[in-house]
Symmetry: C2
Subunit: 349 residues, 2 copies
DNA sequence: CGAATTCTTGTAATCGATTACATCTACTGT
DNA sequence: ACAGTAGATGTAATCGATTACAAGAATTCG
């Protein structure tokens, strides 16, 4: 009953040597039996596999990485403000990658240069075979400039202008925003406000442009007092703050296009608190179609971004580029369609 | 202008050898200059650091891991259904770990045995120095039984009964649920329904027990027709389904305690669609206090779980246990307090 | 001032796999 | 029957760091 040995943390891990010895073959053969099964005899393969079963051997990742110069890991960089927009994206990424035997290292940059530097170092240390930057804020760190030559990098949701070295997976934010605002105009709205996203974000810029496009197309002059900038982030508080702007206004808009669902939801909520009802008194449109949009009251009209599909496609592309070491698979730019999801928050007037 | 060399992906990475040569010292000295700065002269340290700066050297992670037998990575296992409950948890974990130079590998188990086996293998391959299991479904995989002897493991939000080998960070789900239901009873409710979480979840069981406790304490008999089980997950659809149960009932409850906020929100939403208003017609209580609870209409009364704090504490504990190789820091059990957050969804009758 | 001690640095073994190359065996074709 | 080739396996180098040990230099102390 003495189990001293069983729980001893010092029990040396089994190595390929142990397996080789037990199977009566060389370590080279063990390695081959696993990596190139048809290069060994049926018999030896059996012997090796049985020895592996008996010992409970699992190849050491560090040793493998060192020699084979590949870690089978990818880094996913997220902005990492509380936002749960990325949950399905990360889910999809993990699903594809882990199915292919790749590990997913997550990094939250939080718009801090220090953290970007940190993760640039992770890449340069050869710790990952590929990188997915899932954020509008493309890393500016100088350390990053050398990085694309080492491992393939993909950008999701927002491409860097003129970066042909990255694969880009995004949507046409500008066109999508224009569609949304066009939808409002079609419903009879002329006085339409826009709550922007955080500054320095490509999405913010593009969606604002789309807003302008739609206005221009309808011959409506841009009214700067209806552009509510510097909201902070794609979050509730930005919506709250925008509500204050709304209440402060003399000549209020009849519709408001928020650059993200969470902003829209925060806005609607603050409006309600102030006694203003959506869509009776104001119409509101969002962007993203996060899980909560449909369950809100009123259910939010919004532009759906294909987050899961985007994740899947980006993962598959990166996988392809990582295995093609001869740069045979060049970076691509995939632009997925958004979909206007009409619910209850925009009223015809 | 020929930049062939600049972008050549074959540009061999700089190694410690290159640095040593440039600084005119041995590789051992370079290693020491970095790891144990006060074991080398001020002068040599300077020489090494300047050589590093000049070459842009970053130590290879695999080589380091192989020799030092530590990867400076942790695995965070999440259930990985769409649920965004874990977003702040993961955020907090990443923050603490990456500050200490640890990488965070995420794994979504999705209640699939195959995936658990996969991640058991990742651990056994020595790919991580520690593991955080952030889910109510504790891995059942046989491969996992050997694992705690290799690296420290912590459980978050739900401990395994009688597992003294893991650190556990959780809340008293039973007491918290009882508090919530007690609050309803205090508000005058006697006919209180409960929407449970997914089966086979420790949280589900505990919260149900707390519900029973509160009922018993008030001398209210448990009415099985008011216990809505097998809801599916901690998600909206579970709430939708529960709403169907509600509508099907002759003698409807005046209050409903949902085992999670998302369930509660889905429930409220479906009720509204059916013309039933919360809290006018029914009171609803949730659990978790996710970001959306406060922005909903009505703002949801719920039990707040200290997710960020939990993440921070668990990360710090794991960090401690990983560095103490002599098992000097034993696993602990930390139980954090929940907080009843009273908003608008429960009405006094 | 010489022995003992401490400090700094270098040499070389080591971690555990993968893989180039060599060797040996067993076919194939003429 | 024999040279030539293909297939299976083993030997040993290799990946790039860390670190035990040794050696030399500098310091301390009686």
């Amino acid at each position: 009953m003495t189990t001293t040995e069983d729980h001893a943390p010092s029990a040396r891990a089994v190595t390929i040597q142990d397996v080789a010895r037990l199977a009566g073959v060389s370590t080279a053969t063990v390695s081959r039996a696993l990596a190139l099964p048809d290069r060994v005899t049926e018999a030896t393969r059996e012997a090796v596999l049985s020895a592996i079963r008996e010992t409970g051997y699992t190849p050491n990742a560090a040793a493998r990485s060192l020699r084979a110069k590949s870690t089978r890991m990818v880094l996913v960089l997220l902005p990492g403000i509380g936002n749960s927009f990325f949950t399905p994206v990360l889910n999809a990424l993990e699903e594809v990658f882990s199915d292919q035997g790749y590990g997913v290292l997550v990094g939250y940059t939080r718009q801090s240069r220090r953290r970007e530097t940190h993760y640039a170092r992770v890449i340069r240390a050869g710790q990952v075979d590929g990188v997915l930057v899932v954020t509008g804020n493309v890393p500016r760190d100088e350390e990053f400039v050398a990085v694309p030559d080492q491992v393939p990098i993909s950008l999701m949701f927002a491409g860097i202008p003129g970066g042909a070295r990255f694969s880009v997976f995004d949507v046409d934010n500008r066109a999508a925003a224009a569609t949304m605002v066009g939808h409002m105009i079609e419903a009879g709205h002329r006085r339409i406000a826009h709550i922007t996203g955080p500054d320095n974000s490509i999405e913010t810029d593009e969606r604002f442009r789309g807003y302008c496009d739609a206005l221009a197309a309808a011959g409506i002059a841009l009214d700067e007092s209806l552009v509510w900038r510097g909201a902070g982030n794609f979050d509730f508080v930005s919506g709250d703050r925008a509500a204050a702007r709304y209440f402060a206004l003399e000549d209020r808009p009849t519709a408001v296009f928020a650059a993200a669902d969470e902003i829209a939801l925060g806005f609607v909520r603050s409006l309600k608190t102030g006694g203003v009802s959506v869509p009776r008194d104001v119409s509101v449109g969002g962007f993203d179609d996060t899980e909560y949009a449909i369950h809100y009251d009123p259910a939010l009209t919004t532009m759906r971004q294909p987050r899961t599909e985007m994740g899947r496609l980006a993962a598959e592309d990166l996988l392809r580029r990582m295995s093609d070491k001869g740069a045979a698979t060049p970076p691509t730019h995939v632009r997925l369609p958004c979909e206007l999801v009409i619910r209850e928050s925009i009223r015809r007037i």
